[in-house]
C-alpha cells in the first residue's frame, strides 16, 4: 500500500510543503530595497503587519467578505442543494452538470463577465438608462457588494454540490417519519435535516470560507483599486513592492487566520451537535 501512496506524498512534499517552508523562511528575512532581502531570523515582518492599522483593515475586510459570503452561500445553497438532492434521477444528472458548468469558467473570465454586466457602461446600467429610470450610471462595480456577489457566484457550486451529497445521504423516509409524527416542514428541517446534514454543512462552509479568504481575481477586478483583501495585498508585496519577506509574512498571517477560524468553527459546531 505504502508504495502506491508514495508518489502522491512526494508530489505534495515537493510542490506544497517545500515551498511553504521556504516561504516561511523568507518571512523571517529582512527587506532591502537594494538587495531584495537580507537573511535574518526576525519576527519583525509579522509584528509590523499586525501593528499596521492598514493591514488590520485589510484582514478585517477579508474576514467580513469571507464570513458574509459563506453565510449567504449557505443560505442560498441549502435550499438549492435540497432540491437537487431530492430530485428525480433523470433530471438530477442534468441539474448537477448545470451546477458544475460555472466551474468550467476561470475566475478571471467570470469576473470579466461580471464587469461587462455591472460596469458603468455594462448591461445593467445600459438597461436602466435605456428605460430612463436613472440619468447617470448606478455605481455597481468597484463596491464591496460587487465583490461579495462575484465571490458567491464562484463558490456557490462548491457549496451546493457538497450539501447535496450530504442531504442525499439522509433517507427521505426520515423526513416522512417526522412529518408523520406531526412535524411541519420547518420543524422537519430544524430537527431532522439540519442536524443530520451538519457535518457536511460544516465541510461545505469550511471549503467555501477558505476559497473566499483567498479571493484574488474577483477582489481585484470587481472590488477595484480601493478595495483590498489579503490575497491581492500579498501579491502586491511580492510583485509591486518587491518586499518578499513582508509579503511572505502576510501570506502566513492569512493562512493562520484561515486555519484558526476553520478549526474554531468546526470545533464549536461539532460540539454543539455532538451527542
Amino acid at each position: 500500500m505504502a508504495a502506491f501512496v508514495l508518489p502522491a506524498v512526494l508530489v505534495v512534499a515537493a510542490l506544497l510543503v517545500g515551498p511553504m517552508l521556504l516561504l516561511a523562511r523568507i518571512s523571517l528575512n529582512r527587506y532591502s530595497a537594494t538587495d531584495l532581502m537580507v537573511e535574518a531570523l526576525s519576527p519583525q515582518n509579522y509584528l509590523a503587519a499586525v501593528a499596521d492599522p492598514y493591514y488590520r483593515g485589510v484582514m478585517g475586510t477579508t474576514l467580513a467578505v469571507a464570513l458574509l459570503c459563506t453565510g449567504l452561500t449557505l443560505a442560498l445553497g441549502f435550499p438549492a442543494a435540497y432540491r437537487l438532492a431530492r430530485m428525480e434521477s433523470r433530471w438530477k444528472s442534468l441539474v448537477t452538470v448545470m451546477t458544475l458548468i460555472p466551474l468550467l469558467v476561470g475566475n478571471v473570465v467570470r469576473a470579466a463577465g461580471w464587469m461587462g454586466l455591472i460596469g458603468n457602461d455594462g448591461l445593467i446600467n445600459a438597461g436602466l438608462q435605456a428605460t430612463g429610470l436613472v440619468s447617470g450610471p448606478v455605481r455597481l462595480i468597484y463596491t464591496p457588494g460587487a465583490v461579495v456577489v462575484g465571490t458567491m457566484a464562484v463558490v456557490l457550486p462548491y457549496m451546493i454540490l457538497t450539501l447535496a451529497s450530504v442531504i442525499e445521504s439522509i433517507p427521505r423516509s426520515l423526513e416522512e417519519a417526522a412529518a408523520n409524527l406531526g412535524a411541519p416542514a420547518l420543524t422537519v428541517f430544524r430537527r431532522v435535516v439540519w442536524p443530520l446534514a451538519l457535518p457536511g454543512t460544516v465541510a461545505g462552509c469550511v471549503l467555501v470560507f477558505i476559497l473566499c479568504m483567498n479571493t484574488y481575481a474577483t477582489a481585484v477586478l470587481l472590488g477595484g483599486p480601493q478595495f483590498k483583501m489579503m490575497a491581492p495585498a500579498v501579491y502586491d508585496q511580492f510583485s509591486k513592492g518587491m518586499n518578499w519577506p513582508f509579503g511572505a509574512a502576510l501570506a502566513f498571517i492569512l493562512l493562520g487566520a484561515t486555519l484558526a477560524l476553520t478549526v474554531l468553527g468546526t470545533a464549536l459546531l461539532g460540539r454543539r451537535y455532538a451527542r
Binding site: 460596469g119 481585484v220 510583485s239 509591486k240
Partner: protein
C-alpha cells in the same frame, strides 16, 4: 550581497509555482521572449519575429505576462542555472532594478551592432531601448474648455471628481504629481502631499489602463496623466481626449529589452535585441501604438510624427526618473499609494 544562493533558488521555486509553466523550448536556435500580450506582443510577432528572426532560422515563442510578474519572475529565477526567458521586455524602472540586482547580461555594440544607431540619451548598460513616450496630461476637450498646460492643472479644484488615475501606473502618477507640486525627482514628499489633497477632491482610481479609458469615454472623468502614445491610440479609437505636454517637463517612459544572464540562447537573443532596433519595425510600433522610435534612422511619416512626437524644446525639458530613488522607494511608494492615497 548578503543573501545566500540557496534562499534565492528556493524563492524562485516557490514563485515559479504561482506563475505560469515554462514555455516549451524547441532545440536549436529558438528564443523565448517575455513580453506583454495584446498589441505589443502582436507587433513583435508581425514586425520582428516573422520578417527578421525567421529568415535567420530563429524560432520565437512568447511568454506573455504583465510587467510586475515578469520582473518578479526574473528576480526569482536569477540564481537558477537556466531561466525561462531569453529576452525580457521591461520598463525603465525595472531595467534599473534588475541591473542593480545583477539579473541582466551586459549589452555591447559588438553583440548588438544596431546599438550604434540608438539615441545616446537612451543608451544603458544592460538593455536596449525599444520604444519610448512621455507622460502627458490627457483631457476631454468638450469638458475642459481651457486646455491644460501643466501636470499641476489636474489639481485645479474646478475638476473635483473629474480626475482619474490608472492604478498600475502609480509610480509614474506619483512622479507626475510631485513635479506638479514642485518637488525634485529625488524626493516625492511634495507629490504625496499634493495627492492627499487631490484625494479630498474625490479623485478616481481605475484598476487598469483599459478601465481608465472606459471612464474617459463615458466622460465619468475628464483628466488623467498618461503616456502620449496611449493618448494617440485612444484618440484614434474615438475616446474624446486631447494631449497636453506639461510645461513642468514631461516624464519619459522607456520600454526596453534585456537578456537574463541565465539565458541558454544568448546568441539568438542578441540577434533579437538587434532586430528590435530595426527602423522599419520601430516605425510600425509608432504607427500602431504611438510610441517613438529610439534609433536615429527611423523615419516617421510627418502626420504621425506630429501627433506623437515632442518638440525639441519639450524633449529638452524631459524629466527622467531618478532610478536609484525609485528603487529605494519602491516599497514606500506602493505603501503610500495603497495605504494613504487609495484607502
Amino acid at each position: 550581497m548578503t543573501l545566500s544562493r540557496r534562499t534565492i533558488v528556493a524563492g524562485g521555486a516557490a514563485l515559479a509555482l504561482s506563475g505560469r509553466g515554462l514555455p516549451a523550448r524547441a532545440e536549436g536556435a529558438s528564443v523565448v521572449v517575455g513580453t506583454w500580450g495584446g498589441d505589443y506582443g502582436a507587433l513583435l510577432q508581425q514586425n520582428i519575429d516573422q520578417p527578421l528572426l525567421k529568415p535567420q532560422g530563429i524560432e520565437v515563442s512568447q511568454d506573455v505576462a504583465n510587467n510586475d510578474p515578469r520582473r518578479t519572475k526574473l528576480i526569482a529565477e536569477r540564481a537558477s542555472r537556466r531561466g525561462s526567458m531569453d529576452v525580457a521586455c521591461i520598463n525603465d524602472i525595472d531595467s534599473y532594478i534588475l541591473g542593480q540586482l545583477g539579473v541582466l547580461e551586459p549589452v555591447q555594440e559588438s553583440a548588438v551592432p544596431r546599438l550604434s544607431e540608438v539615441l545616446p540619451i537612451f543608451r544603458k548598460p544592460g538593455t536596449i531601448p525599444h520604444i519610448y513616450s512621455a507622460m502627458v496630461v490627457l483631457y476631454n476637450p468638450a469638458k475642459v474648455t481651457t486646455p491644460p498646460t501643466r501636470y499641476a492643472d489636474l489639481f485645479d479644484s474646478k475638476y473635483k471628481g473629474r480626475v482619474g488615475y490608472s492604478d498600475i501606473l502609480y509610480s509614474y502618477n506619483l512622479a507626475g504629481a510631485n513635479l506638479a507640486a514642485g518637488g525634485p525627482m529625488g524626493d516625492f514628499a511634495k507629490g504625496k502631499t499634493a495627492l492627499l489633497d487631490l484625494k479630498q477632491r474625490d479623485v478616481k482610481v481605475y484598476p487598469s489602463n483599459e478601465a481608465l479609458a472606459a471612464a474617459l469615454k463615458s466622460e465619468e472623468v475628464w483628466l488623467t496623466t498618461m503616456w502620449l502614445a496611449r493618448g494617440f491610440m485612444w484618440k484614434s479609437a474615438g475616446i474624446p481626449v486631447e494631449a497636453a505636454i506639461p510645461e513642468e517637463g514631461a516624464i519619459p517612459i522607456l520600454f526596453e529589452a534585456g537578456i537574463p544572464k541565465n539565458s541558454r540562447a544568448k546568441d539568438a537573443a542578441f540577434k533579437y535585441l538587434s532586430a528590435m532596433l530595426d527602423p522599419a519595425a520601430q516605425v510600425a510600433f509608432a504607427a500602431k501604438m504611438g510610441y517613438l522610435p529610439t534609433v536615429r534612422d527611423a523615419r516617421l511619416p510627418p502626420d504621425l510624427a506630429r501627433q506623437i512626437s515632442l518638440t525639441e524644446a519639450q524633449a529638452a525639458r524631459l524629466n527622467p526618473l531618478d532610478y536609484a530613488y525609485m528603487q529605494a522607494q519602491q516599497g514606500a511608494n506602493l505603501d503610500f499609494w495603497n495605504k494613504e492615497f487609495k484607502a
